[in-house]
């Protein structure tokens, strides 16, 4: 077995086995928070909760990356309503807004939702906190855009940010720097493209281009 296969099997195994106790841990922390009224203790609990959620996000990213590397994701393309997708996303993601759209695309609804979640999460973490989602038709294709008002991305970093374990700001903060790698990998599996338009100080717009349906 080559080292890539070993890595994939290892990440998949630990990812799966870690999810159940991590799920329980987050619930126990939440239950404990309700029972603790001392301000200092609540602050400690809040930090523990954020650390556990950060760990959960990292494990999720590693699992997705391992599955992409192993070629274990098979897209099932169908006609997807972007309005339904936006509605689902807004119901679950508090820091996003969306424009109404009548457009449909040929895509896998589950994978497209994962891409959008990664882009919105990226906007929340590195793009100033808020993401705005919209869709337009251009040259026969549909462009789904996720815009943020953050610090923007320097031209020399705009290709690099899609590589594994890379953050444009070089920070060692939350996350592993795999979200955009996953979004790009999933987009390519469905013959979509993904790119970023940005300038320092002017926010960033991530564009997913898909065939209109």
């Amino acid at each position: 077995m080559d080292s890539e296969s070993v890595k994939t099997r290892f990440l998949t195994a630990i990812g799966h086995d870690m999810r159940q106790p991590l799920h329980a841990l987050l619930l126990y922390l939440s239950a404990l928070e309700r029972r603790v009224h001392d301000a200092e203790a609540r602050d400690v609990l809040s930090k523990a909760d954020r650390a556990a959620q950060s760990l959960a996000g990292m494990i999720e990213g590693l699992i997705q990356l391992a599955r992409l590397d192993a070629g274990k994701i098979d897209p099932e393309l169908e006609r997807v309503s972007l309005q339904s997708l936006f509605d689902d996303l807004l119901a679950r993601v508090p820091h996003a807004s969306a424009e109404a759209t009548p457009l449909y695309v040929h895509s896998d609804p589950v994978l497209l939702e994962t891409i959008m979640q990664q882009l919105i999460s990226n906007a929340a973490t590195h793009g100033g906190g808020k993401a705005h989602v919209s869709a337009i038709e251009k040259n026969g294709a549909v462009q789904i855009e996720v815009r943020d008002d953050g610090p923007g991305i320097a031209p020399e970093d705009q290709e690099r940010i899609f590589a594994e374990f890379v953050r444009a700001d070089g920070s060692s903060g939350n996350g592993l720097g795999v979200g955009l790698t996953i979004a790009k990998g999933l987009a390519e599996l469905m013959k979509h493209t993904i790119e970023v338009r940005s300038a320092p100080g002017k926010g960033a717009t991530f564009v997913v281009r898909a065939e209109r349906a």
């Binding site: 106790p21 799920h23 329980a24 841990l25 987050l26 619930l27 939440s30 239950a31 699992i63 119901a91």
Partner: protein
């Protein structure tokens, strides 16, 4: 006297089941827990029909959570369904969506869980 909402919980992982019951009871619900639909229906008895929420793991020992929820909804037709899964593939999400149920990955942030409960309990009321 105000009646607390009844939640039917299907979960065969002990830690997740115990932690989930604490959070759901804190939220203000009565909870009946079991490892499958028969187990839950047997414990809830005649109360099964007043359940307004079903929360199920997707990978149960002898069945899947979507099939189990469909079975329970025959006796609790008002119940909204949430499917949770730590599955590595997208089968659980696809099955939940095609049944019209809500899906969340494990680990699910408790605040997302509570927000979903608030929305769906209001729907039933």
């Amino acid at each position: 006297m105000e009646t607390r909402p009844l939640i039917l919980l299907l979960e065969d992982h002990c830690g997740s089941a115990e932690a989930m019951q604490i959070v759901l009871r804190d939220w203000g619900a009565d909870v009946v827990h079991g490892a499958d639909a028969d187990d839950v229906a047997s414990t809830a008895g005649a109360n099964t029909s007043r359940a307004t929420i079903i929360i199920t793991d997707f990978h149960l020992t002898d069945t899947d959570g979507v099939s189990a929820a469909k079975q329970l909804r025959k006796r609790a037709p008002r119940a909204q369904v949430l499917v949770l899964s730590g599955s590595l593939n997208n089968d659980a999400k696809r099955a939940a969506k095609s049944a019209g149920y809500t899906f969340m990955h494990k680990p699910a942030p408790p605040r997302d869980l509570i927000a979903w409960l608030e929305r769906n309990n209001a729907l039933v009321d």
